[in-house]
Subunit: 482 residues, 2 copies
Amino acid sequence: MALHTGDPLYLALASELRSAMEEGRLAPGARLPSIRETATMRRLSMNTVLAAYRLLETRGLVEAKPHSGYFVKAQLPITEGRPLRQAGRARETELAVLDQITAVITAQALPGTVDLSLACPRLGPWYPGEKLGRITSRLLQQRPELITTYSLPPGPPLVRDQIARHAQTLGMKLDPDRVVLTNGCLEALQIALRGVTRPGDTVGIESPTYFSLLPLLAELGLKARELPTHPETGLVLGTLEALLCEKRLAAVIAMPNIHNPMGSIMPLAAKKRLAALVNLHKVPLIEDAIYAELQFRAPLEPAVRAFDADGWVIVCSSFSKTLAPGFRLGWLEGGRFHRELAQIKFASSVAQPALLAEAVGVFLESGGYEAHLRHLRRAYAIQMDRLRGLVADHLPAGTRATSPAGGYLLWVELPEGCSAQGLFQKALAEMITVTPGNLFSPSGRYDRYLRLSACYSLEGPFTRALSTLGRLAREQLASARG
Amino acid sequence: MALHTGDPLYLALASELRSAMEEGRLAPGARLPSIRETATMRRLSMNTVLAAYRLLETRGLVEAKPHSGYFVKAQLPITEGRPLRQAGRARETELAVLDQITAVITAQALPGTVDLSLACPRLGPWYPGEKLGRITSRLLQQRPELITTYSLPPGPPLVRDQIARHAQTLGMKLDPDRVVLTNGCLEALQIALRGVTRPGDTVGIESPTYFSLLPLLAELGLKARELPTHPETGLVLGTLEALLCEKRLAAVIAMPNIHNPMGSIMPLAAKKRLAALVNLHKVPLIEDAIYAELQFRAPLEPAVRAFDADGWVIVCSSFSKTLAPGFRLGWLEGGRFHRELAQIKFASSVAQPALLAEAVGVFLESGGYEAHLRHLRRAYAIQMDRLRGLVADHLPAGTRATSPAGGYLLWVELPEGCSAQGLFQKALAEMITVTPGNLFSPSGRYDRYLRLSACYSLEGPFTRALSTLGRLAREQLASARG
């Protein structure tokens, strides 16, 4: 979890115990030393130790048994890396995947369903709605021209300036004059793709990847080439390098910091090598950094763009996950492709609403963003532990999951014999939606995987729905074995 | 001009006199009957007649000479229709046009320039900024979730409902469930094009046309086929019909009501025939209705979509010209293409900010929109007369212009010997920007045309800039003749 200099003592203690559990030094079922013992041994107050134990309990890592103390709960095993066998390029599979994405999205929008997996924050109180509302109302009063005159590119200088300034926390030096505001991160990715490819080109994508890329690539007439990943370290570079040498890719699109759905971070050396590779081969890398600021550990690991020598890395991001999910304010900085990308945005949807862009600019300038992010990261870190705990409690034995380094998405691997697609259908009949793993690659692999999301309240309906999902999975296993 | 049942008497009188001038019954230089004579003859009060004469004066149609009365001013001759000779498909010309569009847009954004031609309203007080601001602030207070939770498709039901309801004023029966909210009209056009064409296809466009279509078509890998138009009646259908019969078009894109840049309206019979043609040949028509509500005459002429039998007409529009230029809230209703278009929007930029969409919905529901539009139409009608008067006063003799039926764009035809491109460069050196006619077609024709815009204050700087433009045009003519 996040450990900041100056963190209270109880957080430091909780973090240390959590590491001990992860590394197996505190095994499932083990009893934690009593509060008094720990306090004496570590020269801490009993209250501090109690706070640490309670946090571990909130996170679902330990459970309190009356009159007996705190016990380590069963850990959810971590998903391992597997080799990526290239599938035949079955166009039918690809079309089926595209159709299924629509089916899932449609189902998730049905009123009355409990969704367990969409990446759209619904934890309103965790976002600074009140402050943003006040800023926006003040702008409406003081500057009615933000409504009554045209929103034109490049948009308010303040927000572009603040975006560039804030990008330094990810090691990026951006030019505010090259920041193009977009309708969320997806429009940024879309414009970047349109700017650096032509129909018929092949684009390297991570496998698994953010599923909305697949209909986008298909609709732009682009072919997707799956690149292997590791659940903890993200994109694996060997295959990519070979493809670049053979000049088979027109562009690469990747999420080096907090991958969707895996929550992985590429190691620093791999990031540097990736930046060097795309510069050497002069193939643009579209870096999707939408979750990069939600890394659990501080200081933040840098973006690949931080190591870009000649402007071959286009960085795309948004405030939809971090600050104002309702504003749809995204951005890109196009490096050497700036001119083309700014032109495409203009000829594609002109500009973003100036009111909302200015409001975000004022918020960022006020200095409250860093503090908000610190709270949000910590809250999602706790939430993620709790979700992993719920998965361990409710899904069948043999289930594994990633151990995300940030964000709120969990990539769950079901035991042999389960089919996520089948489970999706069965869950839907009970008004529960999940996102089956086969949506995350054009070849439809990952049918034993599910994506779950911790950006919802995990109480009541969520937990009940997860428990139902567990029952359905066990039924599936039983009938597969029967 | 707009004549509504219940209009005050002075408006009716002014309108009648304006028609007499247009039809030549009141020639330039003629003296209007004295106020007393007219009052007696028509049994009106002297004040009513005075108000009508003053309105004609404000509109630049008559001038008052001290102690002599009111005299009809010189009329700006109306641009005539010309046959469209198909140019060779010179790819170089097309690229030059695309480059020049960028140059013009860049120049127009330079601080300190006086722009005479952009279609972006800068008449803030004419738009209901205060009421929209109040509505938005109230929503921010009462429904903070509009900021803190995700904006997802299809967007607030209220605004989609109101859009469908209001579309009836243009004779359209739209399904609120098929209204897709977009980032302005341009994203609507973009999504429609992407949904019904594939790279390499040919799209029929009006000649001249809205110039932002050209980079959009080019970037999507689409070929543009110019279709002939008439400055007063818009798209001419003969060529289109032949091309449809030969199956040479994948789609047609047109502005049947208030064309940009001509301000024309297609006659009712032509609209019906156009709807029948695209239904017969099963070729989608993308109807750009962005200015349709700014028709000067009431009741409004219907959209082509009103006569669409089988859903082959996709209608695209926006509130950027009519209500909230800063909100970038556009929409489309895709008829039989609804499903594909909604999917493309989702995979392209997800959704529009719910806060702004909801605010527009509340405004429309409040019933103030019709009254606002009535004022806006009348204001732009007056503004257009004034702009035509200024053009007659300041541009060289021999200049003609369209007589727009709505909107605020004027298509000006310069005398033989002028070049709009040359004039653009010369004006730019004096910090004035205009939009040269060659931008309005991929073949770069219309180099003797300029687009001007009446959505600015026409006082001081605008008039001075137009006067400078006139001087530059006269210099150009002199050097062409010398």
